[in-house]
């Protein structure tokens, strides 16, 4: 079980309000990702749920019981930290066993659970090493092992992959997703990387300055962003925005269209422009086009290879039903 309810939760550091009153429900078994730019309060929110920070007001419920005043040790949650936070003076075995030792389990049960976790996470050969003798990916696995052995009601991840190199990050992302599918335990995952959010989440919570901008499934956010901030934050490369006369033609303050929702032609189209930078990835090609009328650079994605070079003239046409319209206050016009 692991249904977590935040009810008018706030957090102030001195006179600075980091989290204004915030309501959120995380269903049992859900993989929820908190995403937002740095300083948006996502880590603070996670630490409030963990109990590592005290609430300024409001309350937090786990499975129906109010835990607002319960210390972190008693909330039944497990956390994986960005720095892994392994105990450097203990072997991998002792690190993983630590929460079980604190729970006063008998030795046979501890051994059984530790060897299970080690098997699941491919750590069996490293059980007698110290954290200092492990690679970044292995350390991350130990941190996860330490979290899963105690069978918590929910897992909290605080940017767990940001210290890993790109290749390892993709691998660990899959491992964590697999783990979630198998354990079916609630997971709350904090990241600033929208690709992690899109690929892993059942539910994404987009935060800005402590406020929830939108909650929804990855594709909800992609297809129906509530406002310009979410539209720009979700999706890579980010959405193109145009203001002024072009937007007015669509009856909006601004219009937005994703790089993948543009038609590209060498002969004709709605807007004419000159190619600035062309990024050839093989699987797709990204062109950064400077419009002839001097507006903002438009990014366009083309499937596969497209031979365009700096200075080439191209024509762009947005796909009509994929254009998002935004009002002056940033909200999307339905």
């Amino acid at each position: 079980m692991g249904r977590i309810v935040l009810d008018k939760v706030t957090k102030r550091f001195g006179s600075v309000e980091v989290i204004p009153p915030l309501d959120l429900t995380i269903e049992d078994g859900e993989f929820t990702v908190f995403v937002g730019p740095s300083g948006c309060g996502k880590s603070t929110l996670l630490r409030l749920i963990a109990g590592l920070e005290d609430l300024s007001s409001g309350k937090i419920e786990i499975d129906g019981s109010d835990v607002s005043a319960v210390p972190p040790a008693k909330r039944g949650l497990a956390m994986v930290f960005q720095s892994y936070a392994l105990y450097p003076h203990m072997s991998v075995r002792k690190n993983i066993a630590f929460p079980l030792r604190m729970a006063k389990l008998d030795q046979a049960e501890i051994d059984r659970r530790v060897s299970n976790a080690a098997q699941v996470l491919n750590l069996t050969d490293y059980l007698d090493r110290r954290p200092g003798q492990l690679s970044g990916g292995q350390r991350q696995r130990v941190a996860i092992g330490r979290a899963i052995v105690r069978e918590p009601s929910a897992f909290l991840f605080d940017e767990p992959l940001s210290n890993l190199d790109a290749a390892l990050r993709v691998g660990m992302r899959l491992e964590i997703s697999e783990l979630h599918k198998r354990l079916e335990t609630t997971m709350i995952y904090v990241t600033h990387d929208q690709v992690e959010a899109m690929t892993m989440a059942d539910k994404i919570v987009v935060l800005r300055a402590g406020n929830i901008e939108q909650v929804g499934s990855p594709l909800d956010l992609y297809n129906q962003p509530r406002n310009r901030f979410v539209a720009g934050f979700i999706g890579s490369p980010r959405m193109n925005f145009l203001e002024g006369a072009v937007a007015a033609k669509h009856g909006a303050h601004a219009i937005g269209f994703r790089p993948e929702h543009l038609g590209l032609s060498l002969t004709e189209g709605e807007w004419k422009g000159k190619v600035g930078v062309a990024e050839h990835l093989g699987s797709d090609t990204f062109l950064h086009v400077h419009p002839e009328n001097g507006g903002e650079t438009i990014t366009v994605r083309v499937d596969g290879e497209f031979s365009a070079r700096h200075g080439d003239i191209v024509y762009l046409t947005p796909i009509a039903d994929k254009i998002h319209r935004f009002a002056a206050d940033g909200l999307r016009i339905q």
Binding site: L77, M79, F81, S83, A85, Y87, A103
Partner: protein, 276 residues
Amino acid sequence: MSRAVTTRRKTINTVLAWSIGFLIFFPILWTILTSFKTEAQAINDPPLFLFFDWTLENYAVVQERSDYMRFLWNSVIIAGGSTLIGVMIAIPAAWSMAFVPSKRTKDILLWMLSTKMLPAVGVLYPIYLIFIELGLLDTRIGLVVVIMLINLPIIVWMLYTYFKEIPGEILEAARMDGASLREEIIYVLTPMAVPGIASTILLNFILAWNEAFWTLNLTAAQAAPLTAFIASYSSPEGLFYAKLSAASTMAIAPILILGWFSQKQLVRGLTFGAVK
């Protein structure tokens, strides 16, 4: 940063360093040498350096006249006891200052240190009266408490700087793993801070061992440690230089040996945090 250093320069620096080292060590060396002379040779003019009749007579006399082992035992109890109790009080104090600082933490640290700026003799009278009142004069327990309190600011400061180096996330991880505050300190913080705690203990043991002001003023016969043992040989009359030296040598020998074996730990402790 690397600089080319000429051989000549190196030689000069080496000679200079050894000379200064020798100069600082000389009084101790002289004490040790004197302890092997006869009283007459000890005050010989010009002073005798190495060529005299080496004798162990002073040691025999000193041991005969006073019970060295009793003073040694008192020193061990007073230095060991005050350090142990001090560390037990200082670990939780330093923990709270390093990991849950309040607005006043910096002030408290400075205030604690400021008590060391007061000349000890300034509080001799009140403490003496308190000791009489509580019947603590010339007791080991009394000295353990006073010396522990006197060194406590240094112990807290040292541990505080060590604890500051330990990432808070690791302690938070322990909390998430279900450790109580006591378990967090015993199983996670203390083992990680072992090098720091060891050098803190060492330094404070040495400070307590050499503490003379309070031990001389608050003890007579029962609880007198080695510092009082040395002092009992300093006399305005008669020839006591050689015996005084022998007593001094016996008093500093244990701590000198301890210091020698733990110098690596000690140097690390004293320079910790200076370069990061």
